[in-house]
C-alpha cells in the first residue's frame, strides 16, 4: 500500500499543472546566493516532475553552486545512459555558464566508456573556452585536463570528440598544440578537418599555413570554405598566400571557393582599389586576381564597380582595360550601359571597345562565308 501511494503520488506530482508552482518556487529560490540556494536546487533535482528538474538545472547554471559542474555532468551521464528524461541542451546551457577555473571538475568524468558523453563534455569545454581570450587561457587551464586533450582527446575513437578537441587544443598556443593541430588537419573525417581548420584561425598558428593551403583544395566544400576564411586570420601574409594559390591552382572548386570568399569578406573590394595605382606591385597582383575571377565568370562585383557612380575614375578605367576582351554577358551589358551614357567620361572608350568587337564579329562572319 505504501508503495502504491508513493507511486501514485509521484505520478501526480509529475503532472505539469501540479508541478508548476514548485517550478516557480525553484526558479525564485535558485536566485539566492550559492550558499543558500544550493540546498533548494539539490532538493529540486530529485523532484519527479521533469519541469521542476529542468528549472533546477537552469538555476544551477545561473547560481553556480560549488559542486554544480559535478552535478551537471552526472545528469548528463544519466541522459546519455537513458536514465533521465531531461534535454541535453538544457544541461549544456547550464554547464557552459561556468568559468574556465571550474574545468578541473570535468577530469574524473572523461575516461568513461561512452563516446557520446565524452563528445558532450568536450563540446561543453569548447564552449567555455570560447569565452576566454586565446593565450590567456593557458595559465587557467587545468594541467591534467590539458594533458588529456593533447594525449587522448585528439586521438579519440569518436570523430565528434576529435573534432571538438581541436578547438580546445587551439587555445593552448604552444608547440604541442601546433603539432596536434597539424595531425588533425590530415584527419580522415571531414568534420574533424573542418573544426581543426577553424581552430587554426589564430596568428599564432602561422606555421600551419602550408597545411591550411592544402585544405583550401580539400575534397569537401565546407573544409575548403573554412580554410579560405581561416587564411584571413593571418592578415597580409595569409591574403598574399591565398591570392598566390588562387592564381596558380587549376582546381576549379578551390578557385570558385576563394573567389566567393574574396567577395564576401570584402577583400576583393580592397584588391580592386589597388588597381587605381598602376605600376605598383599590388596593382599587378590585383589585375591578375581580377582576370582570374573574370575567367571563372564571377564578374558581378567587378562590373558593378566599373559602372558610373560606383567607383573612382582610375579604378573604372583600369577595370575597363582589364575586361575589354571578356565576353561575359554582364560585362557586355555594362559596356553597353557606359557607351549609352553621354555624361560618362569612359563613354568614348566603351564605345570603341564595342565597335572593335562588332568589327571582329563581322570579319569572322565574312571569313566563314568565304
Amino acid at each position: 500500500m505504501t508503495s502504491l501511494y508513493t507511486l501514485t503520488r509521484s505520478h501526480f506530482r509529475r503532472l505539469r499543472a501540479l508541478s508548476i508552482r514548485r517550478a516557480e518556487a525553484v526558479g525564485n529560490l535558485g536566485r539566492l546566493s550559492p550558499r543558500r540556494g544550493g540546498a533548494f536546487i539539490r532538493e529540486a533535482l530529485q523532484d519527479p516532475s521533469p519541469l521542476v528538474r529542468q528549472v533546477a538545472i537552469a538555476a544551477l547554471g545561473q547560481n553556480q553552486i560549488p559542486d554544480g559542474v559535478r552535478i551537471l555532468l552526472e545528469e548528463l551521464s544519466k541522459i546519455v545512459d537513458g536514465k533521465s528524461d531531461l534535454p541535453v541542451r538544457s544541461v549544456k546551457t547550464a554547464l557552459v555558464r561556468y568559468p574556465i577555473q571550474k574545468l578541473g571538475h570535468f577530469v574524473p568524468f572523461l575516461n568513461g566508456g561512452n563516446p557520446r558523453f565524452r563528445f558532450l563534455a568536450v563540446d561543453s569545454i569548447r564552449e567555455i573556452c570560447k569565452h576566454t581570450e586565446p593565450g590567456t587561457a593557458n595559465p587557467e587551464f587545468p594541467l591534467e585536463l590539458r594533458q588529456w586533450f593533447l594525449e587522448k582527446a585528439i586521438r579519440d575513437e569518436s570523430d565528434d570528440v576529435r573534432a571538438r578537441s581541436a578547438v580546445v587544443v587551439g587555445y593552448f598556443r604552444d608547440e604541442l598544440a601546433l603539432q596536434g593541430l597539424r595531425n588533425l588537419l590530415k584527419d580522415e573525417n571531414e568534420f574533424v578537418r573542418l573544426h581543426t581548420v577553424r581552430a587554426c584561425a589564430d596568428p599564432y598558428y602561422a606555421a600551419l599555413i602550408p597545411e591550411l593551403l592544402e585544405r583550401v583544395t580539400d575534397r569537401k566544400w565546407r573544409v575548403r570554405e573554412a580554410a579560405v576564411r581561416t587564411m584571413a586570420a593571418f592578415e597580409a601574409e595569409g591574403t598574399r598566400q591565398l591570392q598566390h594559390l588562387f592564381l596558380n591552382t587549376t582546381d576549379r572548386y578551390a578557385s570558385e571557393q576563394i573567389a566567393e570568399e574574396l567577395q564576401r569578406s570584402g577583400m576583393l573590394l580592397r584588391v580592386l582599389s589597388a588597381l587605381s595605382s598602376p605600376g605598383k606591385e599590388e596593382a599587378k597582383l590585383a589585375a591578375q586576381v581580377c582576370s582570374k575571377i573574370a575567367s571563372l565568370g564571377m564578374v558581378s562585383l567587378i562590373t558593378g564597380s566599373m559602372l558610373c557612380g560606383e567607383g573612382p575614375l582610375p579604378l573604372r578605367r583600369a577595370l575597363l582595360d582589364l575586361l575589354n576582351s571578356s565576353q561575359a554577358p554582364q560585362v557586355v551589358a555594362a559596356l553597353q550601359k557606359i557607351a549609352a551614357s553621354a555624361d560618362d567620361p569612359l563613354q568614348p572608350e566603351a564605345e570603341q571597345i564595342l565597335d572593335s568587337r562588332q568589327r571582329e564579329k563581322v570579319a569572322v562572319v565574312a571569313a566563314g562565308q568565304d
Binding site: 508548476i20 517550478a23 529542468q54 528524461d85 555558464r97 569578406s265 573590394l269 562585383l301
Partner: protein, 477 residues
C-alpha cells in the same frame, strides 16, 4: 416536386445538424485543452525560461528565409525587424521571386548591398538563381534573386543558401517581436525529443504603429473587416492550435512564422510545388517522411512567440486569401487521404487529419449550403421553430461564445492588447464576427473547395498596402 424538395430539405437538415454538432463538439474539446495549455504556458513564460538562451552558445543558429514577390512597401521594415531580433546567432536570406516593383532595389539602397557571385549548391532543385546581393559589413543579410517560380520554390532556394541547422519562414510583410525567436526555439532546446517544427502565433498588425521594424504601439484596426479578422486570428491561434498541440496532433502551422529543422525538410523533399499552401503541405510531408523512416519526432505550436502581419483590407483581397487557404487545405488533405484514420500517424492521423478533412476542408461546403438552406427550410415550414433556434444557437450563438471566450483567454494570459478599450472593441466584434462576417468567409472557403474540384490550381495574389504606410513619417523606410 414540392414533396421532393421538402424531403431533400428534411434530410439535408440532418446533415447540417450533424455537422454543427460535430464541429462544435470538437471546438469545445479544443477549447478545454487550449485553456489548460495556454494558461500553463503563460505562467511558465512569465518566468522567462528562455532568458538563458539569449547569450548561450548552445542555442542553435537560425536562418530566416523571407520569400518576397513585389513587397517593396514592406520588405525593408521586415528585414529591420529581423536584424533587431534578440537572438545569439542568426542569418537572413531574402529570396526575391522575380519581383517587378523594385523590391530588390529598395533593399540594395537601404542596406548598401553589392551584387556578387556566389556558389549555389542545390540540395533541393529550384529554378535558376540570377543574382546575389551582399554587404561585407552586414554579413547576416543575403539577398538572392530567383526566376519567378512561386513561394515554395523561393523557400527551397533560401534553404539551399542557408547555413544554419534550423530555418524560420517569415512572410515579407511581417514584423517579428524582439524575443519571439527565442520563445519559438525554446520548445526545441528544452525538450529531450527531436522537435522538427515549432510554430508561432500570428497577429494582425493593422492599426498598430510601426517604426524601425518594431511594433511601437499595439492598437486595434479601424475597419469592421480588419477587426473581425483580429478576433478570428485570436480564436484560431489561442483555441484551435494549442488544442491540437496538446494532443500532439498539430496539422497546421503558419508559414508566416515557423521554425523548421533544415535537414529533416531536405530529406522530406523540401517545400512542395503542387499545393498553394506550402506551409500546411510541409507538415504533412514531414510527418510522412519521418514516420516512414521510423524516427521519433515532435511538431509543436507555441502560444506566445508573436509575428505581426498585415491582414487584407478589402473584401476582394480577403476572398482571395481565404479561397487560397481553403484550396491549399483541400489539396493537402486529399493528397494525403491515406493518413486519415491511420494509426501509424498517431493522434494526427486518428484525430486531426480526419477533422481537417471532413469538418474543415469539406465541411465548409456543408456550412455554406446550410447558410442558405436552413432559413429556407424554416420559412417553407420544413423545420420547426425549435430546431431552427437550435441551428441558430449552434451556428451563431456557440460561435459567438467561442470568440468571446478566446478574447477573455487572450486578456487573462498574453495581454497583447493593453487597454480596456481594446478589450471592449474585441468583445463587440466577437459578436459581430458571427453575424455575417463568418458566413461570408465560409462562402469564400466553399468557393476554394469548388476551385479544387473544377481543377483550378493558381495562386491568387493578395495585394498589400504595407504595415508602415499608416505612419509615413515615423522611422526609416
Amino acid at each position: 416536386m414540392t414533396h421532393l424538395l421538402l424531403q431533400f430539405l428534411h434530410y439535408a437538415n440532418y446533415v447540417f445538424l450533424f455537422y454543427f454538432v460535430a464541429a462544435n463538439f470538437v471546438y469545445t474539446v479544443l477549447m478545454g485543452l487550449s485553456l489548460y495549455s495556454v494558461s500553463l504556458h503563460a505562467r511558465l513564460s512569465a518566468q522567462k525560461p528562455y532568458r538563458d538562451m539569449e547569450d548561450s552558445p548552445v542555442t542553435p543558429p537560425v536562418a530566416f528565409i523571407v520569400p518576397a514577390y513585389n513587397e517593396s512597401e514592406a520588405i525593408v521594415q521586415t528585414v529591420l525587424s529581423l536584424l533587431d531580433l534578440n537572438y545569439p546567432e542568426k542569418e537572413i536570406v531574402v529570396v526575391d521571386d522575380g519581383s517587378t516593383d523594385g523590391t530588390v532595389d529598395r533593399l540594395i539602397e537601404r542596406f548598401g548591398l553589392r551584387r556578387m557571385d556566389m556558389i549555389y549548391r542545390e540540395a533541393l532543385k529550384t529554378k535558376p538563381v540570377s543574382a546575389f546581393y551582399y554587404n561585407p559589413k552586414l554579413p547576416a543579410l543575403l539577398v538572392m534573386s530567383v526566376e519567378h517560380g512561386g513561394k515554395p520554390n523561393a523557400l527551397n532556394a533560401g534553404i539551399n543558401m542557408a547555413r544554419s541547422p534550423y530555418f524560420c519562414t517569415v512572410d515579407a510583410d511581417s514584423i517579428i517581436e524582439r524575443d519571439a525567436l527565442l520563445r519559438l526555439m525554446a520548445p526545441i532546446v528544452q525538450s529531450s525529443e527531436n522537435t522538427v517544427v515549432s510554430g508561432g502565433i500570428v497577429r494582425i498588425a493593422n492599426g498598430c504603429d510601426v517604426a524601425h521594424g518594431c511594433i511601437t504601439k499595439v492598437d486595434v484596426a479601424k475597419t469592421w473587416l480588419e477587426r473581425c479578422q483580429t478576433v478570428e486570428y485570436i480564436r484560431t491561434f489561442l483555441f484551435g492550435r494549442p488544442g491540437w498541440n496538446a494532443l500532439n496532433a498539430t496539422f497546421i502551422t503558419s508559414g508566416a512564422f515557423c521554425l523548421l529543422h533544415k535537414e529533416s525538410v531536405i530529406e522530406a523533399g523540401g517545400f512542395g510545388l503542387d499545393t498553394v499552401t506550402e506551409d500546411i503541405d510541409m507538415i504533412a510531408r514531414l510527418r510522412r517522411s519521418l514516420t516512414d523512416k521510423k524516427r521519433k519526432f515532435r511538431i509543436v505550436f507555441t502560444s506566445d512567440p508573436v509575428c505581426w502581419t498585415e491582414a487584407p483590407r478589402t473584401i476582394k483581397m480577403l476572398a482571395r486569401q481565404r479561397r487560397r487557404w481553403q484550396l491549399g487545405l483541400a489539396q493537402t488533405v486529399i493528397k494525403n487521404w491515406d493518413m486519415s484514420f491511420n494509426p501509424r500517424f498517431g493522434t494526427m492521423g486518428m484525430l486531426s487529419m480526419p477533422f481537417h478533412t471532413f469538418l474543415e476542408a469539406i465541411g465548409c461546403v456543408v456550412e455554406a449550403l446550410g447558410t442558405f438552406l436552413i432559413p429556407i427550410s424554416y420559412f417553407v415550414g420544413a423545420m420547426p421553430v425549435s430546431i431552427f433556434l437550435l441551428f441558430l444557437f449552434l451556428a451563431v450563438g456557440y460561435g459567438t461564445f467561442l470568440s468571446m471566450a478566446s478574447v477573455v483567454l487572450e486578456e487573462l494570459t498574453l495581454r497583447r492588447y493593453p487597454s480596456w478599450k481594446h478589450v471592449l472593441i474585441l468583445m463587440t466584434y466577437a459578436v459581430i464576427e458571427n453575424l455575417g462576417y463568418r458566413q461570408m468567409v465560409t462562402l469564400f472557403r466553399a468557393h476554394g473547395v469548388l476551385q479544387y474540384f473544377t481543377g483550378r490550381r493558381r495562386w491568387e495574389t493578395v495585394e498589400h498596402q504595407g504595415i508602415n504606410t499608416q505612419l509615413e513619417t515615423a522611422g526609416e523606410a
